[in-house]
């Protein structure tokens, strides 16, 4: 998928994550998390997994994590990507997500 604009998803509420994505060269992930020491690596792995599944190779992702579950984190990153690609009406349920 190719991003055509910047987009956001999520909130700064507890148990959520706020995600901003924008088109870029390569993949850049900037993570700020309230549970960075314990879960930073697994959060980054999930984000990379989502980007790989969606075939996104040009993106800058900024995440402020407030203790989101893995399912919430994935949902927020996916939503931001789909919004940035104008693809919310054509989501690949059961395949790439």
């Amino acid at each position: 998928m190719k991003l055509i604009k910047s987009a956001i998803a999520g909130t700064y509420e507890s148990s959520d994550a706020f995600v901003r994505v924008e088109p870029a060269e390569g993949v850049k992930i900037d993570l700020e998390s309230s549970v960075m020491d314990q879960y930073g690596d697994s959060i980054l792995a999930s984000v990379r997994d989502v980007l790989k599944n969606l075939d996104v190779s040009g993106v800058s992702v900024a995440i402020t994590d407030k203790g989101a579950l893995d399912c919430t984190l994935r949902a927020r990153v996916e939503t931001a990507i789909f919004r940035a690609c104008d693809a919310m009406d054509n989501i690949p349920w059961g395949t790439k997500i």
Partner: protein, 296 residues
Amino acid sequence: MKNRVRRTMIFLNCQRAALIKDAYIYKPDCVILDLEDAVAHSEKDSARVSLYNTLKYHDYRGVERWVRINGLDTNLYKEDIRAAVAGGCDGIRIPKTEKKADVTLVADLVSAAEKEFGREEGSTMLMAALESPLAVINAYEIATSSPRMMGMALSAGDFCSSMHAVRTPEGTEMFTARQQMLIACRAAGIMCFDTVFTDLDDTESLIKETELIMKMGFDGKSVISPKQIALIHKVFTPTEKELNHAIHVLEAVKESAASGVGVLVVDGKMVDVAWVEGAKRVLKLARAAGIYKGDL
């Protein structure tokens, strides 16, 4: 699994991560992941992605997972159904159901989604929410509209609004609708659920209303706050006397069947085979409440 205890079904706004995260801790019988009223229009897309990921990755530890889709008068419900079925929900709650065609429309889309996403044909249950006078009038045709139908639920807010009625603690304004829906459900052999109780601080009235609908014959109630769950479960928990009587009835009927006796006296009351279903229901509720471990 259509036949199970469903005393509480708690609405969880799919837009709010904190709400969908730990609902199972409060041990509701079902969660209803809500894409409809609770979700802001600008976040409908995000809520649907959240729903899908929640269904796919979050472990609700045996709590049944329902999805309330957006209304059939929107352009959202078709994709809601695809996301819900792809995620593996147990059932779909249809809001503002008014006629058989509403259910068959959803049932057809669910069938298509089950095929598309490799889910077992017929495995996704349906539940209809009745929210208008027409819906209550058509209760039986809705209840019998599809083999997927697990139950029907009443929504008092919209119903009372369209009836020009005022909600009262006694529920007089809801009596006919509750009774008519209940009769339709029992005639159709499906479950029946009461409306939410919206005053979160008035636990006394919540208990009274739950006692009323439990005695009427309802199977459970829709819930909007975790703190209502234990209170409702307590009302649906048989007393020690009711539990013992149910055990005595089932034991006595079993013995009498072997000896060819049709009517007998248990705990001073005349009992026949018609009491068996009621006694079994008491044991089922007792099991769900954790106060009965037997195998009758």
